[in-house]
Amino acid sequence: MALFEDVEIVEVNSNQYLSDPEKGLELLKNILKIDTQNIINVKFEAIVKNELFPVLANLNLGGETEIYRKLLKLCDKIRETSKLEFIDKKCTIGIGGGFSSGKSAFINALTNVSLPEDQDPTTSVATYIISAQEKKNIIISNSNNFFEADDDAIEAIAHQFQREYGLGFAGIIKNIVVFSNKFKYENIAILDTPGYSKADGDLKADSLDFEKAAEQLRAVDYLIWLTQSNNVIKNQDIDFIRSLTNSNKILFVFSMADLVTESDLKQKIDNARKRLSEAGIEIYDIIAYNSKDGKTVIGDEVLEKYFDEIDKKAKNKKNLREQLDEISDEVHNLVNDKIKKLRDFSQHIGETISKVHDPEHIDAIIDVYSSCNSQISTLLERINDFDVCIKKLCDEISEK
């Protein structure tokens, strides 16, 4: 299987890693090497969880769960894209879906790269595709080792290594990054993920796959969800999508549209729209696509419009520091609103106290007044603590 369309499919034996076991071990050695320089800096996450979250909990803001999710997403992003400066400023579009929903074929058709389309679960690795002047492949291992791999290595890793040596790389390799000079959107990174479920589709039985896929897709900015045309969007798909808490509208694609008639596709799309709306999921649109021909069967121009919009937005995309500042501003606004309400209330209660002429039975109202002012003072102190945590986080990002 070729990685790039201008290279012919070659026989397995000519792949150096497959024909020479020692070369294969050399590849494995390079992937498994621990590079202590590249150990993921989890200090960011530690500060967020051990210092910032208790402060947030103490602020008791009401909208805090949403902020908590945003911070977790930032941690996911930092964890997932640590050291990947080339992805930091791009908008990531995650391609999600169950096992064998046609994700890799869809991406190949869109991006003109050649990701392996028939990976079994033991070999599937999440892959970024980004636009670049020169072709290049980078393998990122679970120990965060970066290794520039040639085409043979990528080809071997896809599934040939498993067939030849009985050893798959799923779980060993965290990501592959393919730099393609044929992908036209400079500000977008596409993420091809392994299916969140195994072929037998039992959600609970494969919670590790679920967790891994969820972890990666939580970190993306936009989501395209694929379902095979001869299938329906299942309840477990909807549950999984909900767990991602992506705030942008989702593009749904019925892939392998050649398998079903157009009228059936229309019916499926209508039914899906209804189900998804009832489930409270925000839809960008629902289309049907044939990856073999690279054509949209239902929903002309939707894809191109979708990518163009995101590419434009990506130019204004905030980097990590800016995203953190945005979260900080949101918290400050919530706190300021709360303080203002408390101050207004305190003013009102204070006036009431001044009008009461019964000093023996005024305790309750004074208690309310004191409590209100205590809350104001507490909030002011805690927002200082919050700012201290944010500063620490900003320093961490700067060091990265």
């Binding site: 050695k29 050893l167 002429h357 109202i365």
Partner: protein, 708 residues
């Protein structure tokens, strides 16, 4: 090249469940089901609760699940003392050494699956890995290896020197099981990964600076500390510490229940605090003051809503979610064999505490007493537990405890927040100085209660001014008024509070602080006749009211004075009289002996024709004015029989005190009396004219001729 190495690597990297491990699949499925419930129901629910340690609880719950997974895959750890030895090599794979019958080596691979190797396979794998420089740590989290040098009661984990930032959750879950930690003092940095082992053995030069840090850490967390010279002897020594209280013997069920109890305890505390406020509002609403009634009703409704719709609802929901979950956990533990209720002291105590926490809201209730009694009796019968049972039972039944019993209680090692607070209360009660309490509080890092914050703030007075101030303010904000009183008391000579800080004290209801601002505003307003336009008037009365509610006499007086001024200088509106009297009466009740105030009270009571009370006020006061009014009362017979003689004597007192009008009235009355005498005398000679008329005219006629 021999491809056997690839076969071994493939075996190591296997992520499928083998046929002969189908029974493990069943329990793993149960664990997955539990994990799913926790991730999708419990954790999103906990996030809604406003407890500041909720994220820590979430982490601990996740750690329990990780550890169960380890127990399932490595049953050789269950029920044994886990000794962790930190080695200097930071690239090595962690290895669990245990006594094994089979002699097999078992890797826990990156798919969280077990890969079992015979000794030959293992040797071949490792030698090839070394030869081809294949990092096995990239394929496995840790290894469980047979080791005949281990005892039946313990396992030993070789832990690579981990950087603080290593986030691998599977490895950290393993490290958290360590009961006895053997560590070079240079390994101090990673101490927090071990979740408070019961003992630490360090093998290093005791002059090493980190040794002190380790000792301090152990003191703080109630961990036994030992120092041995060499690594090997340290490990052997650690093996002897078999009678330690092993956390791992406390079942997961108890630990989970204890964490959930902490949340319920928090909710119960919140509810009680709201109920107190609710009750206070209700009591105040009995006194119908229309000004505050609407506000109090609104606030009362808000409290009521929060109690019912938020706190009560959360508590009920939490109980529902957790009962299902705990059942699943119990089933898992029954299969694992970790829920065995044997005679282990730690587990029984933990179970008792968890039950107590679960049963009690914040304080003992009558219907729970029987349950506690029966649990205590059950423990009492067990050898070695009677002292502890006594302590627990006596606490709940309010019997006096001896210091030895307190000490016994303090030695109990549990993860119960509820019990920790009991320990603090008991220590406070029995210690001569509060230093111990503060140390216990700091050790437990539980600053939930305002009185704990107050205790720490008080402790740091004369030791650390800034820290003391910080904790006292925190205590005040949490509702502990005593902290505010202390801050005010020491505001000048010690804390040097700024004006803003003093204002905070006033606005948080501290009487003396409120009086300070009230008095300042009073003096400024007094100069201009208490103008009511502008904010100062209302601010003044507000602060005086706050201070008055704190029974500060002068504040009550000044507030009364403001209204008195408005009454006397204004239209003398009779409606103001009860208001003024209210303030003065309360001041009097609080012990005010101000004579002017009493005089005014008398005057106002007279206006209301309450002569009896007026007379009492005047008699107390005995100012010039009071004496004059008393003269009037006796002269006119207001509430008393007319008594000219008494009236005259009061007028005389008033005159001596400089009262001008008293002189006039005295003269008048005296003349009247004299005239009356003359009439009486004349009437015996049948005088035509009435006595009084004649005597008074006669007197005045002659008095005008005094020079004659």
């Amino acid at each position: 090249m021999d491809r056997n190495f690839y076969k071994l690597l493939s075996k190591l990297n296997d992520n499928s469940i083998k046929k002969d491990e189908l029974d493990k699949k069943e329990i793993l499925d149960k664990l997955d089901s539990l994990r799913f419930d926790i991730d999708n129901t419990l954790i999103p629910f906990i996030e809604k609760i406003g407890y500041y340690k909720k994220y820590e609880i979430i982490d601990k719950i996740k750690a329990i699940v990780s550890q169960i997974s380890l127990y399932i895959n490595f049953p050789e750890i269950i029920g044994k003392t886990v000794i962790g030895v930190v080695s200097p090599d930071d690239k090595a794979l962690p290895v669990i050494h245990h006594k094994s019958k089979s002699g097999d080596y078992c890797f826990y691979n990156i798919h969280e699956n077990t890969a079992v190797f015979t000794k030959n396979e293992y040797d071949e794998l490792m030698s090839n890995a070394k030869k081809y420089e294949i990092n096995i740590r990239g394929l496995a989290y840790f290894l469980s290896a047979p080791d005949d040098s281990m005892t039946d009661d313990s396992v030993l984990i070789n832990i690579p020197s981990i950087k603080k930032n290593d986030k691998n959750t599977v490895r950290t879950a393993l490290f958290r099981l360590v009961d006895v930690l053997v560590i070079s003092t240079d390994g101090y940095d990673c101490i927090n990964l071990f979740d408070h082992p019961v003992a630490i053995v360090s093998f290093d030069n005791i002059d090493n600076k980190n040794d002190k840090s380790l000792r301090d850490y152990c003191n703080l967390h109630n961990i036994e500390y030992h120092n041995q010279e060499l690594n090997t002897s340290a490990i052997n020594f650690a093996n002897t510490l078999i009678n330690v209280r092993c956390k791992s013997k406390i079942s997961f069920y108890i630990r989970m229940k204890s964490l959930l109890s902490e949340l319920l305890w928090y909710l119960a505390g919140e509810k009680n605090a709201l109920m107190d406020k609710f009750k206070m509002l209700n009591d105040n609403l009995l006194f119908k003051d229309s000004i505050v009634e609407e506000d109090l009703k609104t606030i009362r409704n808000e409290y009521s809503e929060k109690m019912d719709n938020e706190i009560e609802k959360y508590a009920n929901e939490l109980k529902t979610i957790t009962s299902n979950m705990l059942e699943k956990l119990d089933n898992i533990e029954k299969i694992l064999g970790t829920s065995d209720k044997n005679n282990d002291k730690g587990e029984d105590i933990a179970e008792l505490i968890a039950k107590l926490s679960f049963i009690y809201k914040s304080f003992p209730e009558d219907d729970s007493a029987e349950i506690i009694r029966s649990l205590g009796n059950k423990l009492k019968d067990k050898e070695g537990y009677s002292e502890v049972a006594d302590v627990l039972m006596k606490y709940f039944f309010n019997e006096k405890l001896s210091k030895i019993q307190v000490q016994e209680l303090l030695n109990i090692n549990t993860c119960s927040v509820f019990l920790d607070h009991i320990k603090i209360d008991l220590t406070r009660e029995y210690s001569d100085m509060e230093k111990n309490c503060t140390e216990i509080i700091l050790k437990n890092e539980q600053y939930v209660r305002s009185k704990d914050l107050f205790l720490i703030g008080k402790y740091y007075i004369d030791k650390d001014k800034l820290l003391s101030k910080k904790y006292l303010f925190a205590a005040l904000y949490a509702g502990e008024k005593k902290a505010g009183v202390l801050l005010w008391k020491k505001s000048k000579e010690y804390f040097e509070l700024t004006n803003d800080e003093k204002k905070i004290l006033a606005d948080c209801g501290i009487g003396e602080a409120a009086f300070y601002f009230g008095e300042q505003l009073y003096k400024a307003l007094e100069k201009n006749g208490f103008p009511q336009d502008g904010n100062d008037y209302y601010e003044c009365i507000k602060y005086l009211n706050i201070a008055g509610a704190a029974k500060i006499i002068d504040a009550l007086k000044l507030a009364g004075n403001i209204y008195y001024y408005e009454y006397s200088e204004g239209e003398a509106n009779a409606e103001k009289i009860p208001v003024i009297l209210k303030y003065y009466e309360v001041a009097k009740k609080c012990g005010s002996v101000d004579k002017t105030m009493h005089e005014r009270m008398g005057e106002l009571y007279m206006k209301n024709e309450n002569y009896q009370t007026a007379r009492e006020c005047f008699e107390f006061s005995q100012t010039a004015g009071s004496c004059f009014f008393l003269g009037e009362i006796y002269k006119n017979g207001n509430g008393v029989s007319v008594d000219d003689k008494t009236a005259l004597s009061w007028y005389e007192k008033a005159i001596n005190a400089g009262h001008v009008q008293a002189q006039v009235e005295y003269d008048r009355l005296n003349a009247k009396i004299e005239a009356a005498k003359k009439v009486t005398t004349t009437s015996s000679n049948t005088s035509y004219y009435s006595t009084s008329y004649y005597s008074s005219s006669y007197y005045s006629y002659y008095s005008s001729y005094s020079g004659w």
